[in-house]
């Protein structure tokens, strides 16, 4: 079995690629038949579907993910993630709810990554623990 610490180091590299929108690098972390299930029930199958989804999300918003904690037992990796979405333009169809330009959404979420024999992610599932909106309109000086 692989060293769980290697899984965690690899996970940090994966998130760094995510934060710099390096989609070519991201693909290499995914099994070709990967399944992604996010908290709102959205399911995506395959590398390209996931990358397309993230490209679309990042078109209207920027998302930055901080790893609060991550640990692996060699078969699965658990992570607590803190994400910030910033709306670059109005995004009425944003997955977590409509966003106006300048709005921020902070998500604290728990994610499980099933690891394949080659250490690629076979399945990713996440659930939101805390959700906090910061509306640009309400934060402008009056």
């Amino acid at each position: 079995m692989a060293d769980p610490q290697d899984d965690v180091a690899r996970f940090h590299a994966y998130m760094a690629a995510f934060n710099r929108h390096d989609y070519d690098a991201l693909v290499d972390y995914y099994d070709p038949d990967i399944l992604l299930v996010i908290g709102n029930g959205t399911q995506l199958r395959g590398r390209q579907a996931i990358v397309d989804f993230y490209r679309n999300v990042n078109d209207a918003t920027t998302r930055t993910i901080e790893i609060v904690d991550a640990f692996s037992d060699g078969a699965m990796l658990a992570a607590e993630l803190q994400s910030e979405f910033l709306a670059l333009r109005d995004a009425p169809d944003f997955t977590s709810g409509p966003m106006a330009r300048g709005d921020r959404l902070h998500l604290n979420s728990f994610a499980f990554y099933d690891l394949g024999r080659d250490r690629r992610f076979v399945r990713i599932r996440s659930a939101v623990f805390r959700r906090e909106w910061h509306r640009a309109a309400s934060e402008q000086p009056g």
Partner: protein, 161 residues
Amino acid sequence: MNGPTRRAVLAAGGALLAVGPALARAEERLQPGTRPWFEAYIAAFNARDYPGFSAYYAPDVRFFGQAATLEGAAAVVDFYRRVHARIDETVELLSFISGAPSRVAAEIRTTLVARGDWPDFPTGALLRGQRRQSINFVFYDIAAGRFTRVRSARFRSIANG
């Protein structure tokens, strides 16, 4: 003085070898953050063994469940005693990831069956006989062998599941 015979030493060694794995398993069961340790917690919960499962909570545990946010082991136990008086609740461990000794994560399926109407149940009204399932991702912080923080995030709700 007569020392142990060679036969006695070999017999004793064989006995130790036989007992060894059992001892190892028993010791693992006692190691906080391991799967057997956590499974014993789940079993105690499902058996309504309140002293047994509350022994996993630090006295000042912070508990962020789906139906309540609580502080203190006594508050958690009181909450579950109230819930279990009106609802049959069982939990099932679907996935477990050990970050022993300081934290673990679990995927847990919870099944609720209402024994009577509970219109203001925190996660939604329940009617007598109604069954509801959910799958939650739960993170547990551990210190000195006890949970100091329990946080549950809803992954999926299964109405009438």
